[in-house]
């Protein structure tokens, strides 16, 4: 099975966001970037499927800046076979544009499976996987937290509101991965050495002008200062009174 994994380099989850001077992007100075947490599950699942079938290959692709080669090298060190960096210095926040840039590249080869995280934890769009499926003519299951493959058909489970769906999906397929799918491995020294000899490509991203033009990026309004009502169980009546009389939620 030929597998492509789409990954993204995003600010670490513990980043305190500051807005840049242009008012349209974040201040990146001092920010640590890492592999998007959901993409870790996608990469791990790709490696497991290749191991299960004992055949095929895993290609990792990203649209991002030169610095994203660090995340691609890490993916190669964990076991991916090939990495592709589609270069741009823009913040890729618009899934319409990103899906076209990725599809233009992915369409050059024949893949049976595309794996990605359920969303990139910067723009939090959660739309690239289904968009790519529609563009590529693939089947698709999103936010998958359990996956098995038998006779070329995937059986996937995902959480919906208050229940869980079991979905069958034919190949070629796009699967977007949620937390709980697997426990990602880390690179070992042998993998890090091997990564240096693996195929690595860079080319400019064919990124069209965004379908959603940024007007502004702002910090959310600060919450009004709260009130400590007291200490211990003795403060419970004051809380009940506040909830009933001040915010009228009881």
């Amino acid at each position: 099975m030929e597998i492509v994994v789409c990954i993204k380099r995003v600010p670490a989850t513990d980043t305190a966001i500051k807005i840049a001077a242009d008012g349209k992007s974040i201040e990146t100075q001092g920010v640590t970037f890492e592999l998007n947490a959901y993409d870790e599950f996608a990469l791990e699942q790709a490696l497991r499927i290749k191991e299960q079938l004992n055949a095929g290959s895993v290609t990792v692709v990203t649209v991002g800046p030169k610095e994203a080669q660090k995340q691609l090298q890490d993916a190669l060190a964990r076991g991916a076979d090939k990495a592709v960096l589609l270069l741009t210095n823009e913040w890729v926040h618009d899934s319409w544009a990103c899906s076209h840039a990725l599809a233009a590249h992915i369409n050059k080869s024949k893949y049976d499976l595309l794996l990605c995280g359920r969303q990139a934890m910067d723009a939090d769009n959660n739309q690239l996987p289904s968009r790519l499926a529609a563009l590529l003519g693939f089947g698709c299951v999103t936010e998958v937290s359990k996956l098995s493959l038998a006779n070329g058909v995937f059986t996937a489970e995902r959480d919906i509101e208050g229940a869980r769906e079991v979905i069958e999906c034919k190949t070629p397929a796009v699967i977007s991965c949620n937390k709980g799918l697997n426990e990602p491995r880390y690179a070992n020294l042998k993998g890090i050495m091997a990564a240096k000899k693996k195929p690595y490509e860079e080319s400019p991203a064919a990124l069209p002008t965004s379908a959603m033009a940024i007007e502004s990026l702002t910090l959310p309004p600060a919450r009004k200062a709260g009130r400590i009502l007291g200490t211990g169980a003795a403060a419970v009546p004051a809380l009940i009174a506040a909830l009933r009389n001040e915010v009228k939620v009881l």
């Binding site: 989850t13 513990d14 980043t15 305190a16 966001i17 807005i19 959901y38 899934s95 319409w96 934890m121 723009a123 939090d124 739309q127 289904s130 790519l132 499926a133 529609a134 693939f138 698709c140 299951v141 999103t142 936010e143 059986t155 489970e157 995902r158 959480d159 919906i160 509101e161 208050g162 869980r164 769906e165 079991v166 979905i167 069958e168 999906c169 034919k170 709980g180 002008t209 379908a211 959603m212 033009a213 940024i214 007007e215 990026l217 702002t218 910090l219 959310p220 919450r223 709260g226 009130r227 009502l229 200490t231 211990g232 403060a235 419970v236 809380l239 506040a242 909830l243 009933r244 915010v247």
Partner: protein, 327 residues
């Protein structure tokens, strides 16, 4: 050309409340564009939902056939795409639910247009559609202007009031599109717990963290949630507690879990890591109970009680029960 199409979600014959919230947003846009609100539902046994929609939308279209009983992203997307074109809709809205997140991006790809997901505001001014959405898990707000047509958005639940009127009372139009060549189809729906209210639809959320010390102490959290009565409150957990295996990931609130905006949010034994705050800071009223008076959670809480949760929560359960019993 200025019609607003809402894709309504019906599960097991029941219209989901966030779909009526999407109708409210559509009504607000239609008032500006001068178009109609058209509600589209896809599934099977849609008559009851169709009536509810007719009370709030100008026109209702029901794709009601047994083949659509189970959700199929590719089949549903083809129906929505056709209806957007048939009604020359200038905007397409749906709730940001598991179905909405799966479906609308496919439709957007078919229509080769942009989509803003998890929007908390949609507007139409001077001939252009704009929207606002949280990014970086709510640590920042992004405002965008659509440059392609139609404008599409999924809307964060609990953010607009649910529509109850405004419809033309017209009988729904029934269509029977073909559902062939399905790539993916739902085989089974496993209920997770009897009458549990989904986290993102809950009015009240009771969340517990590592301060509860042991998994069995989550009984206190469950009891407090239950004290609000049936189908009002949901139980949530922090990432630390989920990663420790105490609670399922479906209950996790925060950056690698769910983002919620309930009316009332109890943070119990939760210090307030930046990743957790990202998931709950838009709750309307936040109550924190923590033994550390300097815990960051008190910086976002409207009301705080400092002290031992094992002493405070039982008293709180009794007090809440006393209030709800009087209703």
């Amino acid at each position: 050309m200025s019609n607003i199409l809402v894709v309504a979600e019906v599960r097991a014959g029941k219209l989901k409340r966030p779909s009526l919230e999407a109708i409210t947003a559509a009504q607000q846009l239609a008032a500006k564009t001068g178009g109609k609100v058209i509600a589209l539902a896809i599934g099977s046994f849609l008559d009851a939902a169709g009536k509810e929609l007719a009370a709030t939308a100008h026109e209702v279209v029901l794709a009601d056939t047994p083949e659509f009983a189970a959700f199929s992203g590719d089949a549903y997307a083809r129906v929505v795409t056709e209806q957007v074109k048939a009604h020359a809709a200038s905007a397409v809205l749906m709730a940001h639910t598991a179905m909405g997140k799966d479906l609308l991006p496919r439709v957007a790809a078919h229509l080769d247009t942009g989509l803003i997901t998890d929007a908390v505001e949609v507007t139409y001014e001077g001939g252009k559609f704009s929207a606002q959405k949280p990014v970086f898990a709510g640590k920042a707000m992004l405002k965008v202007n659509a440059t392609r047509q139609p404008f599409m958005a999924t809307l964060r639940p609990n953010n607009f009031t649910a529509a109850t009127s405004g419809g033309a009372g017209q009988s729904p139009q029934k269509i029977s599109p073909a559902a062939n060549d399905l790539m993916s189809v739902v085989k089974e729906i496993l209920a997770s717990g009897s009458d549990k209210v989904p986290l993102q639809e809950a009015k009240v959320i009771v969340a517990g963290g590592r301060g509860l010390k042991e998994p069995q102490h989550f009984k206190l959290i469950e009891d407090l949630a239950a004290a609000f009565g049936p189908s009002v409150a949901a139980v949530a957990a922090t990432r630390a507690v989920v990663d420790a295996g105490w609670r399922p990931h479906s209950e996790q609130v925060g950056q690698t879990g769910k983002v919620v905006s309930s009316t009332l949010y109890f943070a119990i034994g939760i210090s307030g890591a930046i990743q957790h705050l990202a998931g709950m800071r838009t709750a309307r009223t936040i109550v924190a109970i923590n033994k550390d008076a300097d815990a960051p959670i008190f910086k976002v809480a409207d009301y705080g009680i400092v002290g031992d949760a094992f002493e405070i929560v039982p008293a709180l359960i009794a007090a809440v029960k006393a209030v709800t019993a009087n209703h």
